[in-house]
């Protein structure tokens, strides 16, 4: 058995997976630290949900194995949703060996009903597990998720582009959207209660397609904090935006990371 894990209350994990299920396929990568779900679009957008080992009630993984496989996101979320909003089912995952299907056993918390699923797995072509968070970190701002969600949703008036400007001089943090309705702008003061960390190495103003950011707003509703990271990827000369969301599940935490490339880099 390459990997097996059990989670007794997967309501939060389920909600998160449901709100990021925008693509056809999801790549699962069980590691020593936890289970990672990754979705990718055309190499310009990447979303990962990271469920640490501590959230599972049982977690067993074979040592020194680089386990990675791909399954249909739709099938996964439909299986996990088999009981709907009823009760609090527990989920047991197991992956026997490479090429085997992923087995799910979903047990209803009150009724004596068990659902057995086997989801076909596929090989993954190339997907190095790069944790971008540690690379080329230019600017980092950690904001309270509820205010950021409110601000981004209010800035969205059929918006097409979002620009994020982080400055060492005031005004420190400016979000601007443009679209057919006109232009909207907000400045969040650096020393406000909503900003817990502000690290700015140099001034960066980069623009992103708002449709990409809109995708992440659904998950942001579940988050407590968001880290906004601006990277410069030297080899491609594009700006990379990273959003790391911290989601609380009882007293434990899980994470969602979202990376999107900028429209063009500007200094």
């Amino acid at each position: 058995m390459l990997f097996s894990a059990e989670i007794s209350d997967f309501r939060t994990v389920h909600n998160v997976l449901r709100s990021i299920s925008l693509k056809d396929y999801v790549i699962l990568r069980p590691t020593e630290e936890g289970l990672k779900f990754t979705l990718e679009e055309m190499k310009s957008v990447e979303i990962s949900a990271y469920v640490p080992r501590s959230i599972f009630s049982h977690y067993r993984i074979e040592e020194n194995q680089d386990i990675v496989f791909k399954i249909s996101m739709k099938v996964l979320t439909e299986c996990l949703n088999i009981f709907g909003d009823d009760g609090n089912p527990s989920v047991k995952l197991s992956y026997k060996s490479i090429g085997d299907p992923l087995c799910l056993i979903i047990k209803h918390s009150e009724e004596n009903i068990t659902v057995d699923c086997e989801i076909k797995t596929m090989n993954v072509d190339d997907s190095p597990d790069v944790s971008l968070a540690e690379e080329c970190n230019l600017n980092k701002v950690v904001v309270n998720a509820s205010i950021l969600t409110e601000v981004l949703q209010r800035l969205d008036n059929a918006a097409e582009e979002l620009s994020i400007e982080i400055n060492p001089e005031p005004p420190h943090f400016i979000l601007t959207t443009t679209g057919i309705a006109g232009e909207s702008k907000v400045n969040i003061p650096r020393h406000s209660d909503s900003i817990t960390i502000f690290q700015c190495k140099e001034k960066c103003l980069w623009k992103y397609a708002f449709s990409n950011v809109r995708q992440i707003l659904k998950v942001m509703n579940y988050a407590s904090k968001v880290a906004i990271l601006q990277f410069r990827l030297f080899q491609w000369e594009t700006g990379l935006l990273g959003l790391q969301l911290v989601i609380n599940s009882d007293d434990k935490q899980m994470y969602v990371e979202y990376y999107v490339t900028s429209l063009f880099a500007e200094d």
Binding site: E150, D156, N157, A181, V186, N187, S192, D193, S194
Partner: protein, 373 residues
């Protein structure tokens, strides 16, 4: 023009915009020295919805006197698309905002909206694109009719629950002692699958019941639903001021800091038997007739002496509708005996074999069909 709305009044403004968006797509913003109005018209121009905010509604209301004097009708006005303005008001703004500020200077292409949040004193600025300015003045007085009835919003809300969502119009037969409300007109053939509703309302059920002239009046339920929905949020009583069927009816909500009036076109259903069908036809052919009636959207069209022109336009519509519906009458199944299903289906689908367009609608045929089909 600069005005600041305190956070506590945001619920009124947000609900007002929701109501306005249900009526029309274009929002007229008018600022006068003592009041600020948000107005919209429906596409067929049979409903004019207006929210008037007095200067007491604002924590600050500043308007440049010189700009006012030079503006037409002493009103600073601009027009914005509902789809651009409405999204700013989603969610519970009264809990999140300290204030909401509007800034506009005549002849600008943009209107500036500044939202100040309670949280961390964050200020968000929106620069919204405006549409080409149009001067709008609907001069119907909301108290010009000799008949006046008023009741609480909950009364009207309950009244509306008696009608189904598919009921478009309502007819009130009004006399000094009671109102008979029906969702159909007496004497019209029964439409299949339609439930006929009649409600008798005694004059004693109203807060105010002053009827000088008995009348039958038919009007659209949709604006009434929108208005009552707004009124319920703030527990306002709804007042109807009208003359007779055929002349406009004003639905009014009053409050110390703002006033709402919806002016709707009406008909007297008993002057023409096919009136109910005509109203829906009016929706189908809006602009041609509406343009004649609302030339330059000047006030005169609404005043009493020019209503004859509006009535006659409705009569024209009814005549046109009669010709169109004569064909359709063939499809209406007689009440008894009930036709067997197959016959009905043939009659219904028979029209599929008719040519799609008739010369009368298209005019002269410029190029004949190349295929025989």
């Amino acid at each position: 023009m600069e005005c600041i709305i305190p956070g506590t009044n945001m619920k009124v403004l947000a609900k007002a915009l929701q109501g306005l968006s249900r009526v029309g797509d274009e929002l007229f913003i008018e600022a006068k020295s003592d009041k600020f109005s948000l107005i919209t018209l429906n596409s067929s121009k049979t409903v004019c919805a207006r929210f008037n905010f007095f200067d007491t509604f604002f924590s600050s209301y500043e308007i440049n006197q010189d700009e006012l004097q030079s503006a037409s009708n002493e009103t600073i006005s601009c027009k914005v698309h509902m789809k651009i303005f409405l999204p700013l008001f989603k969610g519970n703004l009264e809990k999140k905002l300290d204030y909401f500020k509007l800034e506009y200077t005549s002849d600008n292409d943009f209107i500036i909206v500044k939202m100040k949040y309670k949280c961390d004193e964050i200020v968000m600025v929106h620069k919204l694109r405006l549409m080409e300015t149009e001067i709008l003045s609907i001069g119907v007085l909301t108290d010009s009719g000799s008949n006046d009835i008023a009741a609480s919003s909950s009364f009207f809300s309950q009244f509306l629950t008696m009608f189904s969502g598919s009921d478009d119009e309502i007819t009130f037969e009004i006399n000094k002692s009671k109102i008979v409300a029906r969702n159909y007109c007496l004497g019209t053939p029964c439409r299949p699958k339609m439930m006929r509703t009649q409600i008798n309302l005694n004059s004693t059920e109203f807060i105010l019941y002053r009827i000088m002239k008995n009348t039958s009046i038919n009007f659209s339920l949709k604006p009434l639903r929108t208005l009552v929905h707004f009124a319920e949020n703030f527990n306002l009583s709804v007042d109807f001021n009208f003359e007779v069927g055929g002349k406009p009816l004003a639905m009014v909500l009053k409050n110390p800091t703002f006033e709402v009036n919806f002016i709707v076109a009406t008909m007297d259903p008993y002057t023409d038997s096919s009136s109910s069908v005509a109203t829906t036809s009016a929706q189908k052919k809006p602009d041609n007739v509406a343009d004649d009636v609302f030339e330059d959207m000047e006030a005169e069209n609404w005043e009493n002496n020019d209503l004859s022109s509006k009535e006659s336009s409705f009569v024209e519509l009814m005549k046109k509708a009669k010709n169109d519906t004569e064909k359709e009458n063939l499809d209406i199944v007689p009440k008894s005996p009930e036709s067997p299903r197959t016959k009905k289906a043939k009659t219904v689908f028979g029209r599929c074999y008719d040519p799609t367009f008739h010369e009368t609608i298209l005019g002269e045929v410029l190029a004949a069909n190349s295929d025989s089909e």
